[in-house]
């Protein structure tokens, strides 16, 4: 498997706070990589840096050999990098179908594609996430779970090579969360993107990911298979605190 994303010594500061400190990792094509860490560890900051919403203060990001460090978000999307948001951000005044059509039109360039062609393609993504019957409903009228699915459809419609998923389970009840996780797994099987998956719930990410990267206080503390990472002393300490053995 070739290297799809390479992050080298990336640092991000917000005033005096170092949110991401000299982080380096790489993702190979076709992998599902979990990205974990306690609250405030810097996970979402890393996703924002990768997708171009925040500018890196130091370091380099490369995608498939192309330096994307200074690229704008829309350029990264056209290169094949797409994301979902921790709190769904739909286009409230657009219907579900129109939201996905925009992604089809603006994502990867398709030759000879009219607006109507894009609509037909968008329905496939809506059908995949189970929102076909809600295609003409305004996004603001959808439930939280449906918004999550709409986000996934919107991200998939840009035909990403690398899909950044930011806490797909946040705000969902257990049954919905299970369906959401199954959907991500099915999306990978059907559309084949490489997945970089931020998640809070350890049990889910351990099952779904082939490799896990853990960070704490903006620094990388572990990178390895799920078994290696969940047994890593630094990761346990990050989640349970330094004196966890005394209370175990």
């Amino acid at each position: 498997m070739s290297e799809l994303l390479k992050v080298s010594n990336v640092t991000k500061r917000f005033g005096g706070l170092v949110a991401v400190d000299n982080v380096s990792f790489s993702i190979r094509e076709g992998e599902t990589v979990g990205f974990i860490g306690p609250n405030g560890a810097g996970k979402s900051t890393v996703v924002n840096l990768l997708s171009g919403y925040l500018k890196v203060d130091a370091g380099e990001i490369e995608m498939d050999g192309t330096r994307i460090t200074k690229m704008k978000p829309y350029e990264r999307t056209r290169l094949g990098l797409s994301r979902t948001y921790q709190i769904p951000r739909p286009f409230p005044e657009l219907t579900a179908l129109m939201s996905v059509i925009t992604s089809v039109l603006c994502g990867k360039r398709r030759i000879n594609q009219s607006f109507e062609d894009a609509a037909v393609e968008a329905t496939q993504y809506l059908e995949f996430v189970g929102l076909f019957s809600k295609r003409n409903i305004l996004a603001r009228d959808l439930t939280f779970y449906e918004l999550r699915m709409l986000e996934l459809a919107r991200a998939l419609a840009t035909t990403p090579r690398l899909l950044l998923i930011d806490e797909v389970m946040a705000g969902l009840n257990p049954a919905e969360a299970k369906r959401a996780v199954d959907m991500v797994v099915r999306a990978k099987e059907q559309f084949g993107p490489t997945i970089f998956w931020i998640e809070h719930v350890m049990a889910i990410i351990v099952d779904a990911a082939e490799r896990i990267i853990a960070i704490n206080y903006g620094q990388m503390i572990a990178d390895g298979t799920p078994d290696e990472v969940i047994n890593n002393e630094a990761v346990i300490e990050a989640y349970l605190g330094k004196g966890w053995r005394e209370y175990a």
């Binding site: 829309y74 657009l94 129109m98 603006c106 000879n112 009219s114 607006f115 894009a118 609509a119 840009t158």
Partner: protein, 348 residues
């Protein structure tokens, strides 16, 4: 090369790997044809019934033709421009100055009015990227007022206090009423052309992309929309279209005075057309334009000196009563979704 294919219900146009469909089904165009006929019959009827109505119609067309590009600008930039009359001023002064000092006719001054308006818009286009919210409102509000001051400071050129006289008229027949009818048709033609263009743009892929910028710029950026390009293009194109109305005003009246079009009163009328008709609804702009122009005329005829008080009171009441943000057009469409584009039904 452009490849055109005519099908039963649509014309398919292909150019450089892109494809556009243009619906030609008669039922798709029925309402448009009916209302266009009404617009073109109205001046003829007014000619025999009450010629003064033709002038009101021209005013309504002007209001609508400024509000329509303003709608495009609002959707495309995601911000409401409070100084659309600045571009009326730029277009109007360009046409008037060229006509007076160079002796040029309306057709010769038109391209220069457009170019100058577009040029001014390009200069001020960074505003749509750097400013938002109250800052954008204040900056755009200031532009026409600063321009008005400039016309007073350089009164030798702009004749700020009295305005420029002696601009070539748009049409010059011996019968004055015929001149008015021709002006009504020209203004209606411009308004309908704007309606056609802007409606087509808003219903196309570009309109949808603009709608995403209007809804959430950051997310639009994230799904591959070059938001700066969209915002600047819609700002500049709309400004050029508004500039044409300045050109029309200068050549319609044969005079152009910044004091008439640059102060807040004219700008407020345009914004009221925009709000009463329906915010960022192109068809609502026409309804709003006609409503405001005819309401103003009726109040002047019936209330005389109380008109300046009654006019804003009625409009304020309307703004409260009409469906929020949807205006008169919203009443017409209140049973439908507020989507920017017609619903596409896909059969399974």
């Amino acid at each position: 090369m452009v490849d055109i294919e005519i099908k039963r219900d649509r014309i398919v146009i292909r150019y450089k790997g892109k494809k556009w469909d243009w619906m030609i089904e008669p039922r798709y165009w029925r309402n448009a044809i009916v209302w266009t006929c009404v617009l073109f019959v109205f001046p003829l009827v007014a000619y025999f019934v009450s010629p003064g109505l033709i002038n009101t119609m021209v005013t309504a067309n002007i209001y609508a033709a400024i509000a329509i590009p303003l709608s495009l600008m609002t959707v495309g930039t995601g911000r409401i421009n409070f100084g659309p009359n600045f571009y009326v001023g730029v277009g109007g002064y360009t046409a008037a100055l060229l006509s007076i000092y160079c002796g040029w006719g309306p057709l010769t001054t038109l391209p220069f009015a457009v170019i100058l308006s577009v040029f001014a818009a390009v200069i001020f286009s960074p505003l749509v990227i750097v400013a938002r919210g109250l800052y954008y409102v204040l900056l755009t509000l200031l532009l026409p007022l600063v321009f008005l001051e400039v016309t007073f400071i350089y009164t030798g050129i702009f004749k700020g206090d009295v305005g420029l006289f002696g601009v070539d008229l748009l049409v010059q027949f011996e019968n004055v009423k015929l001149n008015f009818i021709m002006a009504a048709y020209i203004s209606a033609g411009i308004m309908l052309l704007y309606l056609l263009i802007v409606n087509k743009v808003l219903k196309s892929r570009y309109g949808l992309i603009m709608a995403t910028v209007n809804d959430d710029e950051e997310v639009a950026h994230g799904i591959g929309v070059n938001i700066n390009k969209v915002k600047i293009l819609s700002f500049v194109c709309a400004a050029g279209m508004i500039g044409v109305m300045g050109w029309f005003l200068a050549h319609y009246f044969g005079t152009f005075a910044g004091i008439t079009y640059l102060p807040l009163t004219f700008m407020l009328k345009i914004l009221l057309v925009f709000m009463v008709g329906g915010r960022a609804q192109v068809f609502g702009c026409v309804a709003g334009g006609y409503f405001i122009a005819f309401l103003e005329m009726i109040l002047i005829r019936t209330m005389g000196q109380f008109q300046p008080v009654a006019f804003p009171i009625i409009l304020l009441i309307l703004l409260f009563v009409l469906p929020s943000g949807e205006g008169l057009f919203g009443i017409y469409r209140k049973r439908h979704y507020r989507e920017y584009l017609p619903t596409i039904h896909v059969r399974r």
